[in-house]
Symmetry: D2
Subunit: 343 residues, 4 copies
């Protein structure tokens, strides 16, 4: 059994991790820490876990996380970079669901996150946990930077186009829409029911923190300079991201759909739909699947990729468990083999 | 392995049955019939099941359901009563999720359902599949009448009060609120997004078809005549029922909460909350739990029971699988051991 | 023109007042104060009012509210009781949308609101602003206590029953459901989109602050002691309250529907539906109407009243404007004559 | 007074027309026809209009629409083209909210609508009712083709860019998201609450009927060939469209925001937000405003226009009334001067 700990289990990503790890057949969930809820049973904070776990949140200061095999950070940005080094030195594997280790360039990280990085030496040692790209590196990783929710679905959608050099890289557009849980559980006006409900708007059109992460991931496959316009929007749903991606084909006659089918044929958690079918976010609700389809309207020069995921699962906790499975040589679907819940 | 078939798998109850039975470790899902979708893969109709089941819907006329061990009917009322007798005579167990066998009184059935019953002789042979009341009978059943969604949560909420003779039976009130999936998948104006969304209303306040089913179940425990006012409402959520139950205590000083805790202490799928905590429907989303709490406002004569369930799970498909597990001597939680999905 | 001021215009009740008063043909909206937003144009805070009002929020300390004819308080409880006395002494009329002057009994107020009342002498001088009951007193009022949202719809629903002595007063039940805007605009976990959405629950089943206000209003018409069980629930909609009211008829053979039709025949803002029709909250969205219907299930002893209102309009800002119209001898519908917006 | 009639008043566009015209100070609403609801009071079908209009739906065969000054068609495509010619010949003005007269090219109309046009001669005589472009022509029109909901907001968003020749016209992208009411009131699976709610998807990515209408409108201002990719999505809200528009600037250094401010400075129903502010659909709920803002992410070559409208108001019934006001020389805001309802 893998002895696992969670730091920061009281957010939406945390409760998903608790749901998956409580039922994972190869995991012994040893601890979940919380500064604000320490001492309280997890199931008091999350009634959906009553009868599922008897664990109580513990004090982050005194919990012996070093006795774990693997520790997940489900904390806001800025926490893992302070605590991960000690754990890593003690031989504990770390899977960070926050953004602390996602960018390789320290200056870029400090620019977008507005503070100094606490352990920049680890930026190059972290493995970016996108299994469909870095499966081999993940197997041998000590520190896994679990990708952001937008970056996961946007990279998976653009990758086959860039890997095969099919599109112009100077005019990529990602029009992305996220459910409200993507904003986390902290109290904000924008995420109140009466402000987010029955409404829709873009935000951060000038530049969102996930932009450099996406560009870093895509640039590895682009021969020329890569320009990406990324406009996120807030969707009045709880879970789900839909990315609508636009790119200019170098050669409009190519069969893009076949290339996608082939690229992801062996991937359990990427599902390419038949031609002409549009994915919907509800179809991946609660599951670890990224589902996508390919359109080429009016047979023109622009290819349109539609891609969906559950931002809390493939975009966060599910992918973290998938990474843990790879790290420990388990079948990737262990503990993740849930059908989506619909409707 | 239990060889199982589903009749009518294209509604909301059907897709839930497909979700549970596809992953049930003791079940071989042999067939799902559909008149309208025959020949099409289940996963084409329900993309959430892509990668989960390779089954295709089959023709109800030619599918050899008699080769199954157990057949589930997830059909509208009026179908199972025509097809169940042949299957039962062939030794197949039948679990009917429709209302065809829920009432013991033929006249009452025909009054509320507005047609002649096709096999009234079976009404008395059917076992009413509420495990918390009829577990022993279910073990030996051939034909199980799976309870309705409202009747499940309302009976579970009232039962301890009636079993212990704590309340007046002439003034029971059930103010119940159901998510829209409770109305089924047929197209109606009232269930359109623009009519059901951002609104709330009661319906059938004059008398709803579930009333006689609830009264039949409660009357078994009432010494005197039982009067129940049942007002259902349509909630703008997809899944979930919340029942707010009111009854007059014969003796206000009794500790109702303790009686509930004791009554359901051994029941895996009934969860009595600590004093003062209100259940919410989201906490049972996707799970088979009925969660409830007890209030006695201002220490007055009226006791208030708040009870929630997922109408498609404990109120339908989950309870059907629970009944099947009992029927075959399995642990009741087999294939049902999902944590609720929250948020 | 009536010179009007608003104290505390940045909540949901405040923006509704601004919407109505900006367009009211007899009102000159002179000031809206806000401690947090002073100096900012109203339309910057509420983009829906761009092009509708050029007013900016002003400093509550320096705004000369004494030059107004009438001042509305759209503040949380505890503010108006400190500021109203000075205004009243200066001859300004005050319409308080908070709870500061709704209870006549000082001790009860202090019990439910957990603090000392700042000007208890005004409690008996305030007129309770429910026009359908107190129209004459409102005409002559100096200080109007605008009713709460739940109390408005629940009193209007029960009143004809009590005025005509039709029901037992020892077993009244109000099962009420409110949209999330009823909780106000302050940030709370319960009103976050991911917690309030796709869910439903009761709250304060042990006792809600609106209980004494409702009982005070109903007791005036009850000959015997009045017992009311009031269970509020949080609905996943933005606007709207639905009250389902239960009472035991003294004489089941009475024609309750006719009594309701007659009672409210002259009331512009109470609409009694035809027999058998259920009201829905969406039908009063944005309008000042309280709509209701009457049921007597199975011709039994229990009468059921279904009543809806927009909690921000008839339950708050609209009723406040209706009261102002009465106060100044205007037609009650002036500035309020909007059709509800549907869908 | 203008004597007005409505053909087809039972859809969502119809009820909005009824709301506006019932309260319009210069309109005498003489008739609303409906084949399915004839004889029934409008307020029985739409309870939100109880107390607002006493009109009953009338038989389309026998209603003397020729006695009207103006007739609005709120019918599905294919009705107005059969009935408008007779009315026009009788001197009645016609405002068609359907698509029958929106395309100038008969072949293109027949291609996209899949049938023969009944009166192709009128295609060139119809005036396209986008006031911000065709105000003068509308003044003199006999037959007004009221624009579609997507075409209104997308054209208003792109127009300043094309009029000033600021962008490449071979790579325009319109990523548009519409509330469910945009799909009309007919019963479909996709618009059921349980299928549209808590989900999001694109549709018709291969080609939507509004594409030729948008291209026709934009092409008038494009010097070169115009290529537009238009991907519509279904939003889980009732009302509101958000268009996110992308275009490549010929000269990135231009101040696009100023150009938009100037272009729409005199337009009452187009509101350009300050720099950096994102529009949200809720801010135009129930109002006739199209609200937009301009972004140029990372000062790159791509300009992003964010534009919102209420699809039933500026995208349908409100714009129809605005057109009628222009036609009769009234102030454009007459009867339309409602503030948006928020929240």
């Amino acid at each position: 059994m893998i002895k696992a700990g969670i730091v920061g289990g009281t957010g939406y990503t945390g409760v998903e991790l608790l749901r998956f790890l409580s039922r994972h057949p190869e995991v012994d969930l040893a601890a979940a820490t919380s500064r604000t809820e320490q001492g309280k049973p997890v199931a008091d904070i999350f009634p959906s876990l009553r009868g599922v776990t008897g664990l109580a949140f513990s004090d982050p200061e005194t919990t012996a996380l070093k006795h774990c095999d693997v520790v997940f950070f489900a904390t806001p940005s800025g926490t893992a970079m302070h605590q991960a080094p000690d754990l890593l030195e003690a031989g504990v594997k770390v899977i960070d669901l926050s953004a602390d280790f996602r960018l390789r360039d320290k200056d870029e990280w400090e620019h977008w996150y507005g503070r100094k990085h606490a352990c920049p030496g680890y930026l190059s040692r972290a493995v970016y946990g996108l299994p469909e790209v870095n499966r081999n590196e993940i197997r041998a990783a000590e520190l896994i930077a679990n990708p952001g929710c937008y970056p996961t679905v946007i990279q998976l959608g653009f990758l086959p186009l860039l890997e095969q050099d099919l599109v112009e890289t100077d005019s990529l557009i990602a029009d992305a829409k996220s459910g409200v849980s993507g904003a986390g559980r902290k109290l904000t006006r924008a995420t109140q029911f009466c402000e987010a409900g029955e409404s829709f708007s873009a935000y951060s059109a000038d530049g969102h923190r996930h932009l450099p992460e996406i560009k870093q991931g895509l640039a590895a496959f682009a021969e020329d300079a890569l320009e990406l316009v990324f406009v996120p929007h807030l969707l009045p749903i709880i879970r789900g991201i839909h990315a609508t991606l636009y790119a200019r084909l170098k050669e409009p006659a190519v069969d893009v759909h076949s290339i996608f089918k082939q690229r992801y044929a062996q991937e359990h958690y990427v599902d390419v739909l038949p031609r002409g079918v549009h994915p919907d976010t509800a179809s991946v609700n609660g599951s670890n699947v990224c589902r996508m389809s390919v359109f080429q309207p009016q047979n023109g020069a622009t290819v349109v990729i539609l891609a969906v995921e559950d931002n809390l699962v493939k975009g966060a906790a599910g992918q973290a468990v998938q990474n843990m499975n790879i790290l420990y040589g388990l079948d990737e679907t262990t503990g993740l083999d849930h059908a989506g819940i619909w409707p």
